[in-house]
Amino acid sequence: MAEEIPATEETAARETLFEAPPLAEQERMAEAILFASPEPVSIAELNARMPHGCDGAQAVASLQKRYEGRGVRVVRVGEAWAIRTAPDLGYLMQKETVEQRKLSRAAIETLAIIAYHQPVTRAEIEEIRGVTVSRGTIDQLLEMEWIRFGRRRMTPGRPVTFVVTPSFLDHFGLESPRDLPGLKDLRAAGLLDNRPVPGRSEEPEEDEDADETTANMFEDD
C-alpha cells in the first residue's frame, strides 16, 4: 500500500516498517470495525485494533464527514463511536423489531397435517392428532396466511376443508406441496431418531401432554 514513499537512510527504513496506512485506508478500517461491532467503539480501542501508527480519531472524523446526509450516520455515544440509522428514516425500521416466536406444538402439528393431507377437514385433523383442535389454532394459521379454506367436502354436513397457501410454500422453501419429504426421507435424514429424554416433560402447559408421552414410546421402530 504505502510502501513506495522514498525516504533516506536508516530512519527511512524504520519509518517504512511502521508506516501507517494512508488515511483513506484507515477510514476503511474504522468503517469496517464500527460496522461489525455490536457496541460503540472508543478511539482507544480503535487505535488498538488498527495497525500501528493509525490515527483512529482522525479516521472517525473523516468517516463521519463522509456519512453526512446519508442513510446512516457516524455518531458519538458517550466516549465511543457507532454507526446508526439516520433518525429521519427510523420509520423504515419497523419490520426489524418484529418479535419472532416459535409456533406452538398444536399449531405446527395441525399445519403439518394440513400440508400432508390437504384438502383436509377439521374432523380429520382431530382424528390424526387424537385431540380436538382448538379454534384458536386454526384461526392463527389462517391469520398467518399459511392455510386457507379449500372446497367443501361433498359428504353429509358439507364440511369445509383446509389447504396450504403459496405463502406457506414460500416460507418453507417448497416449490409445491408434493415436495414435502415423506416419512422414508425423514427417517433417512435422521429426523425420526430425535427421541426426547424419557421423563423430560416438554411444554407442560399444553393439553396434549399425555398424548405426547405415548407418542414418544412408539417413536423408534
Binding site: 469496517a32 460496522f35 461489525a36 461491532s37 455490536p38 457496541e39 457507532a82 454507526i83 446508526r84 440509522t85 433518525p87 427510523g90 420509520y91 425500521m93 419497523q94 426489524e96 423489531t97 418484529v98 418479535e99 419472532q100 416466536r101 416459535k102 409456533l103 406444538r105 399449531a107 405446527i108 402439528e109 399445519l111 403439518a112 397435517i113 400440508a115 400432508y116 390424526i128 392428532r129 387424537g130 392463527q140 398467518m144 418453507f172 422453501g173 417448497l174 414435502l180 419429504p181 416419512l183 425423514l186 427417517r187 429426523l191 425420526l192 430425535n194 405415548t214 407418542a215 412408539f218 417413536e219 421402530d221
Partner: protein, 275 residues
C-alpha cells in the same frame, strides 16, 4: 500390531512385477494397511492408491490399479485385518474387471466391455477427486463470520412490537413424523370390513322370510356380494346360520337337513301348523 510385525509381513513385492519394492513404497503400503480405518470406503482407498501412479487421473491404468487394490486386500488378509464387506465386494468386482481386461472380448457375451467398465471407474475416481478439490476451494473462500462480517448492531430504532410466529421445515416435518409414527403403532383393532354380524343377518332374513313359504336353501338367504370373497363367505355363512337358529327358537321358521353336510333348508313356520 508392532512395526516389526508389519515389516516381516511385507516382503512380497506384489503388484509391480519383479521389481523389488522401494523403501518409500513399503512405507506407503504399511501406511495404507494401518490406516484402513481412516479410509472412507473402497473408492477413497482406490483414489489414494491411484496417486502412486503419479499420472493424471484421466490417464490412469485401471488394470494396474485393480492389481494394487487386490494386493492391498491380500496383505490385509495376511495381517488378519478385518476388512469391511464393501472392500471385499470391490475386490471381487475388480478381480472380475481384471479378467475382462485381460481376455479378448467375447462377442457372445452380454454386457459392457472391460474397457467401458474401466473407463467408468476412472471417471468415478476423477469425479471424486474433483469434488474434493471443489470442497477445498469452497472452504478456502472468504467465509461469513471469519473473513467478512455482518452488522454487529442490528437497529432497534422504534420498538413496534409485533409478534410473528415462525417455524421451519424441520419443525414441520418432525411434528408430522411424530404423529405418523404414533399412528403406525395404533392399538390393534379388529378390521370389520369383512365381518357380517348376526344382527345384520337377522335383519336381512326377517325381510325375506315372509316370502319363504316353501323349503329354501339357507345359502339363498345370504346377501348379494358376500359369496365371492372366502373371508366374507365364511363370516356370512356363520352369521346366517346363527340367525336361522335364532329365528327357529323364536318359532318363526322351521329348519331341516336331509343328511350330514347336505344343504340346510328353511321355510316360514305357519301359525296353523303347530308342532
Amino acid at each position: 500390531m508392532s512395526e516389526d510385525d508389519l515389516n516381516a509381513d511385507l516382503p512380497a513385492p506384489d503388484g509391480d512385477g519383479d521389481r523389488p519394492m522401494s523403501v518409500a513404497e513399503r512405507l506407503a503400503a504399511e501406511a495404507l494397511i494401518v490406516d484402513v480405518e481412516g479410509f472412507e470406503g473402497p473408492l477413497d482407498l482406490l483414489l489414494t492408491l491411484s496417486r502412486t501412479q503419479k499420472v493424471d487421473l484421466r490417464k490412469i491404468s485401471v488394470f494396474r490399479l485393480a492389481e494394487q487394490y487386490l494386493a492391498f486386500v491380500e496383505r490385509a488378509k495376511t495381517l488378519r485385518i478385518e476388512l469391511a464387506a464393501d472392500y471385499l465386494v470391490m475386490a471381487a468386482w475388480l478381480a472380475f474387471l481384471k479378467s475382462r481386461l485381460l481376455l479378448p472380448p467375447d462377442p457372445e457375451e452380454e454386457g459392457p466391455s472391460g474397457e467401458e467398465l474401466a473407463a467408468h471407474l476412472a471417471f468415478q475416481l476423477e469425479r471424486l477427486q474433483a469434488m474434493r478439490d471443489a470442497a477445498a476451494r469452497l472452504m478456502a473462500r472468504d467465509q461469513r463470520g471469519r473473513d467478512f462480517f455482518v452488522r454487529g448492531h442490528p437497529e432497534t430504532v422504534t420498538r413496534v412490537r409485533r409478534v410473528a410466529y415462525s417455524a421451519n421445515l424441520l419443525d414441520l416435518m418432525q411434528a408430522y413424523a411424530r404423529l405418523r409414527t404414533r399412528d403406525e403403532f395404533r392399538p390393534f383393532v379388529m378390521d370389520r370390513d369383512n365381518v357380517f354380524t348376526m344382527e345384520q343377518a337377522l335383519d336381512h332374513m326377517r325381510g325375506m322370510i315372509g316370502f319363504a313359504g316353501t323349503w329354501t336353501d339357507l345359502a339363498s338367504y345370504m346377501p348379494p356380494g358376500w359369496a365371492e370373497d372366502p373371508m366374507r363367505r365364511r363370516s356370512v355363512t356363520a352369521a346366517t346360520f346363527a340367525a336361522s337358529l335364532e329365528l327357529a327358537k323364536q318359532g318363526q321358521v322351521e329348519i331341516r337337513q336331509s343328511d350330514t353336510f347336505a344343504p340346510i333348508q328353511l321355510r316360514r313356520r305357519e301359525g296353523r301348523k303347530n308342532g
